[in-house]
C-alpha cells in the first residue's frame, strides 16, 4: 500500500500554534491573488500554438536541470534520464524508463524545494494521491500521460487555471518575437517578452561577432560601428516594448560596471568584434555595456534586472557532451559596492530608473544589497534566486534584508522557471514563507497584524507590479 501524497494545509508554517494561526490568517488573504510572473524562462511558443504537452518525462524531467543535476551528482548517467547528447550519441529514448530513474531516486530530493514543487504539481495539477516511489512510477507515468491528452492540460488552459495575470519570458534581441505576436493576435492573456542581450553584449559569448552582425540585420543598422551597435540595441528595445516588454535582464559573471568615454568604447568594441579581447578587456566591455543599458533604461523606462555571479558551465566534460544549462553552473563570491559604483555615480539618483539586483551570494544580502537598496532610489532587491528560492533561504533573505531595506525595497516573487507547471507551486511556497516570516514578527509583537496583512499583500501582488512597471 503506497504512502499517501498529502499537501497539508499548514505546510511551511511554523509549528508553534499561536504563530501558525497568524500565518494561516495572513495566507488566507493572499493565497488567491493572481500570479504575476515577471521573470522566467517558459517557451512562448507553448502559448502561441497551444499544442498539448508530450509525455511526463519530456515535460517534467528533461528540461529541469534542478532535477537531473541532483541525480547526476549521485552517479546517475545523464543518458539514462534521456538527456540528449550533442554528438547524437545514444541516450534513453524510452521515456517511461527515464521516468523510472527519477522515481528510483526520488528520495534524493528530500528537504529540497524540487520535492516540494513536484509534489505540489503531482497533487494539484494532476490530482495524484500517492507518493512517487519506485513502486508507483508506472502509475504516475500513465496517470500524467493520460492527463496531458486532455484539453484542460493544454498550455493556455493551464495558464488560465493557474490564475496567471502576467507571464514574462526571456528573449534575445535577435528574436523576432513571432510567438509573442501570435499570442497578442489570438489570445487575451498577457505573455510578454523580456530583453536579454547577453549574447550580443558579452564578447565571450559563443558566436558574439556573428550575433552582433545579426543584430545589425534585424535592426537595420550598421552594427559594426559602436554607434550603429548602440542604435541597434536601442531599436530592438523599442521593438520589444511594442509587444509589452517592460524589463531587460543581464546575466554577466560579475556586477562590474564602467563609464568609459566614447573613444575607448569604440576601440574596445572593435577588439571585441575582432575576437581579440583579453579576459580583462571582455570584462571591461561587459562592464561598460551595463552602464549603456542603464542609460537606455533612463531613456526608455525599461526596468533593468542584474543577475551576476554564476560560473556558467563549470564542468567542461559535461559541456562537451551535453551543452549549456546542464546543472553545472556554480555561484561565486560577488561584489556589488565597488562594482556598481560607476553606473550608480551616473544614474543612481535618476527618478525614472529602476534596477533590480539579484544575487547567488547570500553574504551580500545584508552586507551590500540591503544597504544599497536602502539608500539609492533606483535600486530594488529581487527575491532569492536559483539556489536561493527555497524555504530556508527565503527566510534568511527576509531576516537579513528587511531590517536594513524594509519590505518596500524588495519586489515580490520571481519564479524564474522553465518548468511551467511548477509556477503555482513556486508562488504558493513563496507566499507561505512570507506569511511564515510575517507571522513570527506578529507573534513577537514586532509588527501589528493589520500591518503584516498589508505587507503580505504587497509582497504577493502589488510590489512586483510596481517594480516592473506592469
Amino acid at each position: 500500500m503506497p504512502a499517501p501524497l498529502v499537501l497539508h494545509e499548514d505546510r511551511l508554517f511554523p509549528a508553534e500554534p499561536t504563530t501558525r494561526a497568524i500565518a494561516r490568517r495572513l495566507f488566507a488573504q493572499v493565497k488567491d491573488l493572481p500570479i504575476v510572473s515577471p521573470h522566467g524562462h517558459t517557451n512562448p511558443q507553448w502559448f502561441a500554438d497551444d499544442v498539448p504537452f508530450g509525455d511526463p518525462t519530456s515535460l517534467l524531467l528533461i528540461p529541469d536541470h534542478y532535477l537531473f543535476r541532483m541525480l547526476y551528482s549521485q552517479g546517475v548517467p545523464m543518458e539514462s534520464m534521456g538527456i540528449p547528447r550533442r554528438d547524437g550519441g545514444p541516450t534513453e529514448t524510452d521515456m517511461r524508463k527515464a521516468w523510472k530513474v527519477l522515481a528510483d531516486n526520488y528520495h534524493l530530493f528530500r528537504g529540497t524545494p524540487s520535492r516540494i514543487w513536484l509534489d505540489h504539481v503531482f497533487a494539484t495539477a494532476f490530482g495524484l494521491k500517492v507518493r512517487l516511489t519506485p513502486e508507483t512510477a508506472d502509475l504516475y507515468y500513465d496517470h500524467i500521460q493520460d492527463a496531458l491528452k486532455k484539453p484542460e492540460f493544454k498550455p493556455r488552459a493551464l495558464f488560465e487555471r493557474f490564475g496567471i495575470e502576467l507571464l514574462s519570458t526571456t528573449d534575445s534581441p535577435l528574436d523576432d518575437l513571432r510567438h509573442h505576436k501570435k499570442i497578442r493576435e489570438t489570445w487575451d492573456r498577457r505573455v510578454v517578452p523580456a530583453y536579454r542581450p547577453d549574447n550580443v553584449a558579452d564578447p565571450e559569448f559563443e558566436g558574439f561577432a556573428d550575433n552582433v552582425r545579426k543584430l545589425g540585420e534585424v535592426a537595420g543598422e550598421d552594427a559594426t560601428t559602436w554607434k550603429g551597435y548602440i542604435r541597434a540595441l536601442e531599436k530592438r528595445r523599442a521593438y520589444f516594448k511594442t509587444l509589452g516588454c517592460t524589463s531587460t535582464d543581464h546575466g554577466f559573471p560579475t556586477a562590474r560596471t564602467a563609464d568609459l568615454d566614447p573613444a575607448a568604447c569604440e576601440k574596445l568594441f572593435a577588439k571585441a568584434l575582432a575576437g581579440k579581447c583579453s579576459a580583462e578587456e571582455a570584462e571591461l566591455f561587459r562592464a561598460q555595456m551595463l552602464t549603456e543599458m542603464a542609460r537606455m533604461s533612463v531613456a526608455d523606462g525599461l526596468v533593468m534586472q542584474l543577475h551576476p555571479g554564476s560560473f556558467r558551465g563549470h564542468n567542461p566534460n559535461l559541456f562537451a557532451k551535453h551543452g549549456r544549462d546542464m546543472g553545472a553552473d556554480i555561484p561565486t563570491a560577488t561584489e556589488y559596492v565597488n562594482n556598481l559604483k560607476p553606473l550608480l555615480d551616473r544614474f543612481g539618483n535618476e527618478p525614472n530608473f529602476t534596477m533590480i539586483l539579484f544575487t547567488l551570494d547570500e553574504s551580500t544580502f545584508g552586507r551590500e544589497l540591503a544597504p544599497l537598496a536602502g539608500h539609492y532610489p533606483c535600486l530594488r532587491l529581487g527575491p532569492g534566486w536559483w539556489f536561493l528560492d527555497a524555504p530556508e533561504s527565503m527566510l534568511r533573505y527576509r531576516e537579513t534584508v528587511t531590517e536594513t531595506a524594509g519590505f518596500y525595497n524588495t519586489c515580490g516573487f520571481n519564479d524564474d522557471t522553465r518548468a511551467f507547471l511548477s509556477i503555482p507551486a513556486r508562488h504558493d511556497l513563496a507566499r507561505r514563507m512570507d506569511c511564515n516570516y510575517l507571522a513570527r514578527l506578529v507573534a513577537e509583537h514586532r509588527i501589528d497584524e493589520d500591518e503584516a496583512a498589508d505587507v503580505a499583500k504587497a509582497l504577493a501582488y502589488s510590489l512586483v507590479k510596481k517594480a516592473y512597471k506592469l
Copy 2:
C-alpha cells in the same frame, strides 16, 4: 479611529510559551539595570548647556540618517524632509510639513529597528497612545512639540530619567572638550569623551594636513615631523583622559595594520602631509597608525575600538548636495585575519591592552572574529553595529559568535546613536534579544537557568564596564 500604539510587555520574546516564560524571567532581572553607553554620537553641548530640544522634526528626523535614507530610497527628496543643502539651496523649512512626510511614509519602516525604536520613544518618552499615520501626523507634532517645552524633557532631565550611568561621546583630538569640562563642573553625571583621531590619522580625510597643523597647535608640538606628530597625538590622549576618556575609536575603510620602521614612517608621513600619497600609501599610513594607536594604548591603557569596512559617501551626487552622513555609507567585505596580524604580532599578548573589534560584514563574525577573540587575550568583540543592531542580526550575532568565543569575549551593548531619545529603546531591544537567545538555550537544556541569568546580567551591565575599563 486611529490604530493604538502598544508596546507589548512580551515584545521581541519567542512565541513558544515555555521559552517566552523563561525570557520574561531573565528580562525581569536586567530590565532595570543602569544604562552604560560607552560608544555613541550624542552632542555633549546638550548636557553642558541643558537647553530644551527644538521641534519634533529637528529632534527626531533631520539628524537621523537611518530614517531619511529609507525615505530617500523610495524617491522622497531630501529637501522635502528639511535636510539642509550645502549650497544653501531651497529646503523645507516648515518642520510640520517635513514631519508629515515622515508620517506619510511610516509604513516603509515596518520590520526595521527604526520602527521599533521610534515607537518606543513615542510611547515611553512622550506617552503617545496611537500609531503614527498620515492621519495622526499633526496630533504627534503638537504633542511632541508641547512636551519638549517642559522641564522634564530637557537633556539632563531625560538623561536622569533614562537611568544612564555613563554616556560616552565621540570626539576629535582637535576638540578642546569645553562642553565636557562644563559638564564636569556643573553636573554630577558621567558624560565622557572618546578619542577619535580619523581626521588627523587618515591622509585621505578632508583637510588632513590642515588638521595635523591644528593638532600641533592644540598639543603644543611641532606636528610637521613624525615624532612631533606622534607626541601631539599622545598628549591629546592624555588630555582626554583627564576628562574621563577611557577609549579610542577608529573608523578606517579596512582593518589593515602595518609595522614599519621609523624611517619609513617619517617618509610616509611627509608624503601624507604634502598630499602626495597614492591610494596604497594612504592605506599603508592608516595601517601604520592603527599599530601606533595600539602601542599608545598599551602605554596609557585606553581601550582601542576598531570599526572598519564602511565605504563612506558612496553617492557623490548626494555628497555634493548634502555632505557627509546622509545614509550613503555602504558596508564592504572586510578581512581581519591577515590585516590585523602586524598589530597582533606586536601587541596581541599584552596584558594591559584591549582592542574591541566591530564589523559590518557578518560573514566574519563566525569565520574570523570569534576565533580571533577566542584566542587573543587583548581582543573583545563589539556588538552588532549600525546595520546589524537589530533583532535578527543580534540573534545571528549570538548564534555565530557564542559557540566559538563564548559570552565573555563580547562586551555588552553599544547604542552608537546620535538619536539621544532612542537610547533607552535601543538598550531595551538589546536586552530583550539577549534574553530571547538565552531563553532558547535554557529551553533546549543547553544552559541552566541560573547560569543564563548570570550571563544576562553580564551582557546588560558588567561586561561593558569591564571591557571599557569604566
Copy 3:
C-alpha cells in the same frame, strides 16, 4: 550545596512541544546506532598498549586546545594550565592546581560545545552528579582520578563501552603504523589509519626536505626525483591500505589545485626540495599535489578529504613559546569554485573517485559547496568542522546545504577529535541536532515522518560508511 549536573533527555531538541515530540521519536531510532568515526586525531598507541590514562588534567585539559585557548583569551597564562613550554621553562606541574584553573573559569564555556561535551563526559563517562565549579574542583579531580585507575576506564574498555564500530586516526606517510599493526594483531576492533601527507607535500611545512628524504627511505624509492617521490607516496598509500586505511586527508591553507605538465612538476619539486620556492611557488606545488592525490585516489580508491582555509599558528609569540596546535589557528575566507577547477576538470566525473570537502568559511556552504556537491558525482560534503561542529552551526549547515545538495551528498558526522572521551558526546550532539532539524521539517509538513526517519538513520550511520567506503 552544589548545583546538580543533569543531562536532560530532551536536550538540544526544539522547545515547541509538537516538534520536540517528533525529535524524540526520530532520535529514539538513531541513538543506539554504532559510532563510526572516520576522521579524528586520537592516538593509536592508546589502543595498541591499552595503558590506563593518567590524571584528569593530562587527559582532559592539556591536549584540548578548544579548552585552553578560551582560558588564554581571557588572560589565563598557558603555564598555569600545565601547558608545556618548548624551552622547558617553568609550567605548572601540580595537575590538581591546573585543574582548579579550569574549574575557576568554567563559566567561560557557557553556550559553547566544549561545555556540552565536557558535561556529557562528566555525567556519562564518570557518573558525576554536580556541576563543575570552583567549589567542586577537588571533588571532580579525585573522582576522575579514581575512575581512571579502574579497568573499565582503560582505552579498549572505553572504546567498547562507547559502541564504536570503527575509529580512524590521522597519520603521516612516514609513520610505520606500528601501533595499528599491534592493534590488528591483538584486538578485534577496527582502528584504522588515514593518510595525511601534508608534511611531505607542502614545501612550507617545517622540515619538508628532510621529510621527503625519510619518505624515500621508508618507501624504498629515490624520492629526490619527482617520479621517485610520486612512487614513494603511492607505495605508502598501498601500505596504509593493508592496515585498513580507506581515506587520505589534506589540510592546506587554500583549496587551490593545478594541473601542470610533468616537466613543470619536476622543476617545481626540485625547487621545493632545495628550499627555494617563493610563496607563490609553494602554493602552486601544493595545488599540483592535490591533483596528484586525486589521480592516485582514482587509481587506488582511497577517499580524498580536503580541509582548507586555516591560518595555522597565527600568533608567533605563542608558537615560539609553546609550538603548534595551541589554539591560534584562525579560519580565513576560502574559495572553492575556481580553485578546485583544475582538479575537477580532470577527475570530477570519475565514477571511482570520492572527494569530501570541508570548510571553516560558512559563507561557502550555500554559495559554493552545496552547488558543487549537487552536481559533481565525485563530491561529498563533510560535516561542520572545528569551529562549526556545534549546535547552531550544525543547524545552519543543514539549513544552507540541504536545499541545494540534499541530504545524500553529505556524509554523516566526523568527530575530528583528539579528546577520546568526548567521542560519544560529540556523536550524541550531532544526532540530536540532525533530529532537531528533521523534526522541524516534519512539523512544518516539508517531509513526512517516515522519510525523516530514513534520513536520520542515513545521517547517523549509513552515509558515513558509504562515503568513506567502509
